[in-house]
Amino acid sequence: MSGPSSSEGNGPATLSEYRRREQSISLSPIEEQIAEAGIEETREELLTLNFGPHHPATHGVLRLLVTLQGEVVRDLKPIVGYVHTGIEKTAEDKSYWKVIPVIERMDYLAYYFNAMAFCAAVEELAEVEVPPRGQYLRVIHLELNRIASHLIWLGTSALDLGAVSIFLYCLRERELILDLFEMSSGQRMHTRYFQVGGVFEDIPRGFEPKLREFLREMPGRADEYGDILNSNEIVLQRLRGTCPLDAETLLSLGVTGPLLRAAGHPWDLRKADPYCSYGDFDFKIPIGTVGDNYDRFAVRLAEIYESVKIIQQAIDGLPEGPFITTDRKVALPPRHELATSMEALIHHFKLVTEGFRVPPGEIYMPIESPRGELACYVRSDGSSKPARVHMRDPSFVNLQALSHMVKGSYIADLIATVAMLDPILGGIDR
């Protein structure tokens, strides 16, 4: 309360005592006070605020050091590592079969994608062919997982923006998807369904009708979410035109996935470099125009429809045949063979105790996960344990774009941008 500058000394006699006292401590504008106190220059302070690892709006334990000028973000530094689990180190310690559950827990919303990247890398190294039925089953589960991941993204982003009911709607849909996963593999999350050479088990008898019913319902539900959010003025104002970033900057920052597609660059590994029989399916890639938060939201919402299309085509054209490679050196023999065939028994024993050996070499295997290019680098030294497993996680690289995106925006835009960035800290920290 520096700067005395009470213009009225004692107020008129009609004012109460309290009012008079109030007037005598009236504050002049800050410039006047500073001038009176003799400070030469006034400078607005830059305040560095810590959006700590525990914060209701961060998606996971992300820590942001935000330098603010008033409410405008001037600089941003993300600090990660709060859920670092040493997955890559653990994976070096286990045989290839046992690495799959470990590596699945990295990007914990896209668990099938983690397993897919690793299994594809090991299949490439060990020169193992995946039969067509296995590939189609993989595609079905991958696209279901993509929808599930986008649903959680939509739910938590809407929660950040204030639309709480969308969160519950998305969880309702996700329950249906997790029921399907439980049907095919017995687990809702981290199912270790993908194995090197194919999938672990064939789908049970009730899976197909239940999947078809889900596919009938899902586009209608996605329409509902679109309707609710697109006609909500608050959501539109918070997302349209906020924090755009052009494709050139994104490319130099290494960003892939829906963020890059929202900026207009049509890069999708499923179309550019098809793997796992994605080339058999007819689907489109949604692309945005401006690259602001609204485009990122719209691209992901549209991807849900495209995934439904892919699953429909996959289940309609599901080929007959084995679901895992018949190479007994890599895949477990079916149990009924163990009773009759000695070789099957020996193979089973060797696979379960020691695991299969992979010829020495290095491979980098990229796939398209819901967040961008997820790649697995496996280096094998000829033994039954991998010598190095590295997951190139898309969220880790996409996070570098955050500071470029939010420079010059408000804190509220920062929250919306973090939501639209879709970071998954398990993938970032591994």
């Binding site: 990660v80 590592g81 670092h84 040493g86 890559e88 180190k89 653990t90 070096e92 310690d93 490439e124 190294l125 020169e127 490319l251 130099s252 920052l253 290494g254 960003v255 890069w267 550019a272 470099d273 070499g361 290095e362 491979i363 980098y364 990229p366 290019e373 790649a375 680098y377 280096r379 010598a387 190095r388 590295h390 190139r392 880790f396 690289v397 996070l399 570098q400 920290d429 591994r430």
Partner: protein, 183 residues
Amino acid sequence: MPDATGLELIAQELRAAEGAGPGAAAGSPVTDTVFFRERGTLIIEPERLRAVLAQLRDRGYRFLCSVHGVDHYPQEPRLGVVYELLDMSRVDRITVKVLLDADRPEVDSLCPDGDDGPGWPTADHQEREVYDMFGVVFRGHPDLRRILMPEDYEGHPLRRDFPVGGEPVRFTFNERDTSGTGA
């Protein structure tokens, strides 16, 4: 991916370009080429890394997908840093690898702009991770600190001679032997 002959052509051109450029050091930058499972890898002298990547960028490999480290423990040179490049217009991938000794693992950072062209901003966090996990020092990196482990952690966890670690699982029978809150 470039096929085997394509890879050799690239390596040849790199050797030629390096020899002809101004201030070029003697010797070839490419020590080895590996063509494995339809993918090509160039093994590069660590000092020439930025130059080689700049030339690959001119050839179209403009997108740096990944920077990660490897530890070839019993073999020397022990540490390696692997750079994955992608040419989006031709859907072409190529890998560049540098091999470093464990006693002085230093290589130029890709982040800052150099005189051979603009930097690769995507390498920022990824080089920090390689530093954190392997101890490779990137010269010229704007902010080389640990990213995944606590700032004051000692040791580089992903090196092969670093133990996996872990805690004994506390059951009732060994509750008193294992450390916990006061037990």
